[in-house]
Amino acid sequence: MTYHIQLTTRDGQPLEFDCSPEQSLIDAALAAHISLPAQCCQGSCGACYASVTAGDYLLGEHNPAALPAGNANGILMCRTTPCSDLSIALPYDHAKILFHTVPQRLAQIVALESVAENTVRLALRLDSDADNGGAAEFEPGQFMELEIPGSTERRAYSLANTGNWDGLLEFFIRLQPQGRFSAFLRERAQPGMKLMTRGALGAFGIAEGSLRPRWFVAGGTGLAPMLAMLRRMAEYREMQAARLFFGVNRESELFALAELERLKAELPQLVVEICVWQPQGEWPGFVGTPAEALHQALAEASVQPDIYLCGPPRLIEAAEKAAAAWGIPPDQVFSERFLPG
């Protein structure tokens, strides 16, 4: 027995597949050669969030922080099984859905450097192969899964650079005390080593067709996808108004400031607000979280912007609340959560 699943993308395009009551929606879609954005597939990251518009379902065990607050019909498709035919609204465009196998490719570490307190910059170069050549094709905002050498465990990290023809992948990674990939980076990784990558994945990214100002709110290494999006705007000479709120806990956690200055030179319309929550010294900039800076800025905004959020769940929630308080419609708020995994 199977149920009919009807998906509608944000840009109004329909997709359909069948799903048995024992199957997750993500797995059934994959079986139908539809690769929907997903990441952990364990109900914890929120990458496969969607809204049911008709039908009954079971939402299995999951991390409540992975679902945006206030949507009673919100589901994580990796943890949802159908109890009837379902209609589901996807929060991303059709262009974010893959209809082919996600590439798995070897890459070599070409740079690994500390850029701030507990933060490293990791650069990889994809090996050239017969199916992909040497290109690194991905959309800004997407992430890659990196496999810890010697194991089958993978961790997902947002790409900070833009698609390129040199095979380069750039990441800014926060070293977690108990993180396994962090341990690999701290203890074993060095330039020249190879590791397996899988991707690019994810639906987070610029709403390309929108003409509204683009506001980016980043916490810590949540800056990575924002850098990718801003770099892409600079490469394509896109002139939409843009504003970045980049926040850290302490000044010592700041990174990529020179790159932000370079981007300001290339994107004259870009306004950057560096926010430090608990400055250790005399911090001349905004003191507080980027969500607080967003709240203040929205008070003075003449046009409602699109808002892009990336960082820890508490930052995302606070920023979503700020957006809601100023009447920004939910479909103008795009988020990518970090969750420990």
């Binding site: 840009d11 109004g12 059709h94 262009a95 974010k96 859905i97 893959l98 209809f99 082919h100 192969d129 017969a130 199916d131 992909n132 050549g133 040497g134 290109a135 094709e137 991905f138 959309e139 698609g163 023809w165 040199d166 095979g167 610029i206 390309e208 067709g209 003409l211 509204r212 490469e235 394509y236 896109e238 002139m239 939409q240 046009v303």
Partner: protein
């Protein structure tokens, strides 16, 4: 949004037209509305330019902007709303320059300049919402409650035909070919539309006048293509891949292709044509490049699967782009009037990024078995063997000519054209142009005494070849074109085809069969006029239509 400019417009409701958040072509409502507003702004430029031209102060730079601006609004050309925000600002500046030039010319001649209203007085709003509010007032069906569907439909016929005229003229313009009469004709048509005309006869007259302008345009474009790249020569084109790095070039712009061939010389990259670029292989100055390797894929509507399978970058030079899929979104590039949000746009023929992409991407892993089609039967090639053709007609070896051409598309009804071409009797010759040919150009038609039964005249841009060949045959047989054993079976999709149709009507070509459906903007009353005056008729069943054409008495 409200748009019914193309063949695939929504016909599910009583009033046909795309009127939701997203048209059937994939264009979003903001982009569609801003395009309507751009057409309005271009009318304003033309109001002044036309008057300045009448006073001997023509401004061809403004004319060039009009051509480009109109071209961006065709179906499947530019989907990037942000581009239209800046084009609207630019249009206001060009209009201000045109006004200044007109007022200066008037004063120099001791005349009081007219105070123009309507589009001439439009000022761009400061923000997007303001622009979109303006757009609501100037959509294609604005005023329909007052003037009725027939007037709106005829205005649409003129606007859409004009879009096609401008697109063709832009193709010539970028090759350095311009014509003051063409600019004057375009300005006249836009100025006419700026007054919101309601006189049915005047609208019909303008539509046919535009058809004559387009004849000049097609002649100019023919001169541009052959002047730049030589006369088309019959040429066998490989339609199967060759091992190695590859770039695919789609659209119509031979100048873009030429620049890319030049920049990729000696780099070990094969260049493939796609869709309407196929006839490029017939031009001596283009086929001289050994790395112009072949043609890949079919007509435009199949691009999402074909591009996904192409192992290199893709360049879209003009119409017809549809939404790039994730598999190739990073490696598709636009040029000229084309645009898609989030897709890299190449300017000034700087193809360095495209070349870098080709070198990084895998290319074809192996040679596919060789397969070819023959192209290159432009007017020069066909008329070069005119005596042989005329003799064959006189001897009864060639009973009839069918011109089966125009645009292709996804509609199932387009199978008609395949059936028509393949079922055409062995003593008939099929002339074709446009991308409609992909429905039958790999079929083995054979020949009649050495004359191929399928003659590919080129792109839809090469309509002038068809007209020239028909005119030459009529002259040889001392009759009118309508008296020739020739039937036109036209497949339309978008506004270039509307321009060509107006030209054929302006030349008084009768009994054209048009499909797969008739334009939604042609109301029953307008259609009646076209039927009465020109015998235009919808396609029917292929076999019956062939029989009917073969038994038809001359018009």
């Amino acid at each position: 949004m409200y748009c019914y400019q193309c063949e695939q417009t929504d016909r599910t409701n009583a009033q046909p037209g795309c009127a939701s958040a997203r048209g059937n072509c994939g264009k979003d409502a903001n982009t569609s509305d801003l395009q309507d507003l751009l057409v309005h702004a271009l009318k304003g430029i033309a109001q002044y330019s036309r008057r300045a031209r009448d006073l001997g102060a023509a401004n061809d730079a403004a004319g060039g902007f009009i051509l480009y601006g109109m071209f961006t609004t065709l179906t499947n050309v530019n989907f990037n709303a942000a581009r239209f925000v800046s084009l609207l600002q630019e249009a206001a500046k060009v209009r201000d320059q045109a006004r200044a030039a007109y007022e200066s010319a008037a004063k120099n001649q001791g005349l009081a300049p007219e105070a123009l209203t309507g589009p001439a007085a439009w000022q761009p709003a400061a923000d997007l919402n303001g622009l979109l509010l303006d757009a609501q007032k100037v959509g294609i069906n604005a005023g329909i409650e007052t003037v009725g569907a027939d007037v709106i439909g005829l205005r649409a016929l003129v606007v859409y035909g004009l879009k096609g005229v401008c697109a063709y003229a832009h193709h010539a313009h970028v090759l350095g070919y311009d014509n003051a009469e063409v600019y004057a004709g375009v300005e006249r048509a836009l100025d006419f539309l700026a007054d919101d005309p309601t006189d049915i006869n005047a609208l019909l007259e303008q539509a046919l006048a535009l058809g004559h302008v387009n004849l000049d345009v097609m002649k100019m474009l023919d001169a541009a293509n052959t002047g730049s790249f030589g006369q088309q020569q019959p040429t066998a084109v490989r339609v199967s891949p060759i091992k190695g790095k590859a770039i695919l070039v789609s659209g119509h712009d031979l100048g873009d292709l030429h620049a890319l061939l030049e920049q990729t010389q000696g780099k070990g990259i094969n260049i493939y044509t796609h869709g309407e670029m196929l006839p490029a292989h017939a031009y001596p100055a283009l086929k001289a490049y050994p790395h112009l390797a072949g043609n890949y894929g079919g007509a435009w509507q199949d691009q999402q699967t074909e591009f996904a399978a192409f192992p290199g970058p893709i360049l879209m030079t003009s119409n017809c782009i549809i939404e790039p899929q994730p598999q190739y979104r990073q490696r598709i590039f636009t040029a000229g009037p084309v645009g898609w949000p989030g897709v890299r746009h190449i300017e000034n023929h700087d193809f360095s990024v495209l070349i870098q992409a080709a070198q990084a991407l895998p290319g074809f892993k192996e040679d596919a078995p060789e397969k070819t089609v023959t192209v290159g039967f432009g007017h020069n090639a066909v008329l070069g063997v005119a005596d042989q053709v005329i003799d064959a007609v006189k001897a009864g070896a060639i009973r009839h000519f069918f011109l089966i051409g125009g645009c292709d598309g996804a509609a199932p009804g387009r199978n008609y054209y395949t059936e028509f071409a393949e079922q055409a009797p062995q003593d008939t010759v099929v002339l074709t142009l446009g991308c409609n040919k992909y429905r039958f150009n790999q079929h083995d038609f054979g020949d009649i005494g050495g004359i191929p039964r399928l003659l590919d005249l080129g792109q839809c841009n090469d309509t002038y070849s068809a007209i020239k060949i028909a005119s030459a045959l009529a002259e040889a047989f001392n009759c009118g074109v309508n008296d020739l054993p020739l039937s036109l079976v036209i497949s339309w999709f978008e506004q270039k085809a509307a321009a060509v149709l107006l030209t054929l009507l302006a030349l008084d070509i009768k009994n054209i069969r048009l499909g797969p459906t008739l334009p939604a903007f042609l109301t029953p009353n307008i259609l009646n006029v076209l039927v009465e005056k020109f015998g235009i008729q919808p396609i029917g069943e292929a076999r019956a239509d062939i029989a009917s054409a073969l038994s038809r008495k001359a018009a």
